[in-house]
Symmetry: C2
Subunit: 245 residues, 2 copies
């Protein structure tokens, strides 16, 4: 059995009991490898499984009938994906591998069983779901009420903050395996305009970008520009029910 990324993620939030740990690890079995570009599923598919990212990046996206694309969220190691398709059966967005990745799939029922056996984990999953909503809300504010430069700054900072939460280390150099087109589709700008903004931000000594490597040269300046709020505090588990066993 290999190390469970999901356990690694969740135990940052909560001191897991052995049986909780086992239940979570049980969801992350039978890893499969997908090359970059693989479409894990497509908007509208009837999805009955959830996935946990072991390694690599995925992104969820939707397309308008005009062909325009909006990237909704990025998924890293330890993230559970597919939960958004759990309410209705149809996947509301497509999931695409941005890099080569390793993923474990498990059926929905397993989540139900976990909820029944471990109410504290149910509360934890609920909280994580709420964190996702907060993340989406922050993106919404960014798209609705700030200009292109601030949106990009926000994107870089939020990716950096999430990576930091995964790896535990604070590094101004962030690997962001996205093209300028991808960046644009994430923040609602065109590729051409993203290019110009990146050049401007480079001139202003805010960032540096070289292929997939982005360096946050002046992080304080970026935070100020983006009015970024790093919400990665500790999770409040005070209301959780007691753990089973």
């Amino acid at each position: 059995m290999f190390d469970s990324c999901f356990v690694a993620r969740l135990k940052r939030y909560l001191d897991l009991t052995p049986s909780e740990r086992e239940a979570i690890a049980g969801l992350e079995r039978d890893p499969k490898i997908y090359p970059a570009g693989t479409v894990l599923w497509t908007e509208g598919d009837d999805v009955t499984e959830l996935m946990i990212v072991h390694q690599g990046w995925a992104l969820s996206e939707t397309r308008l009938t005009s062909g325009r694309r909006q990237i909704l969220r990025f998924h890293f190691s330890g993230d559970m994906i597919g939960a958004s398709g759990i309410a209705f059966r149809d996947a509301p967005s497509s999931i695409v591998a941005a890099t080569d990745m390793t993923v474990c799939r498990f059926p929905r029922q397993a989540l139900g069983e976990t909820f029944a056996a471990h109410p504290r984990l149910a509360a934890l999953f609920f909280s994580i779901s709420q964190m996702e909503s907060i993340d989406l809300s922050d993106r919404l504010r960014s798209l609705g009420r700030s200009d292109g430069k601030a949106r990009l700054a926000n994107l870089f900072l939020s990716i950096s903050a999430r990576m930091r939460a995964v790896t535990g280390e604070h590094n101004p150099v962030v690997r962001i395996p996205l093209t300028q087109t991808d960046l644009g589709d994430a923040v609602g700008l065109t590729q051409v305009h993203v290019n110009r903004l990146i050049r401007q931000m480079t001139e202003e000594k805010l960032i540096t970008r070289n292929r997939a490597t982005v360096t946050l040269v002046d992080e304080a300046g970026l935070v100020d520009l983006a009015r970024f709020i790093d919400r990665f505090g500790t999770l409040d588990s005070s209301w959780f029910p007691p753990a089973n066993t």
Copy 2:
């Protein structure tokens, strides 16, 4: 004891057992009345309670330091609000009463107890949380990748769809107690531009608006314009654990 809006809402999704029903109704006690404009709580407050909307409209909003406002979501009868503040303690957004409203508050702990006693309700709450994420994703796509007219059309349609889900009736006349400024803050436009767009849409016989009353004159045209997806299907509860009692 008065009728629980929360029970009314949830039983649309799931055939509730008597004890589940009781647990839910228990969360909706001691209703309080707030006049329109009341700030129920402010961004950053340490919130330890959740609320259920009994009557009226609330909206959640954030402000940038520049003073600009982004409306994130609307809350109607039967909605639970405050869940987004449950992960961390600080409320990520303010909640403001858009009309006079009746609201019930309950402590977070009660949610934890419900999770422990009724795993099936935990699964239901999780699903509802995911529906919220989907709603936010749809708004994100709208703001990121469509023009002002489509954004407004989308807003009107999604409010109409949600109202319909609450009231059960399909009526082209929708009461939307928002000013043009509010509409702009919801879709990322200025009040002035909202005004012009509404005039245009009226000329094109798509809608009619008079104060708080919006009429969807050509609903098909709006759906087409907004590329709107009405996701209000039935909830998939096939993966839920069995009900207790």
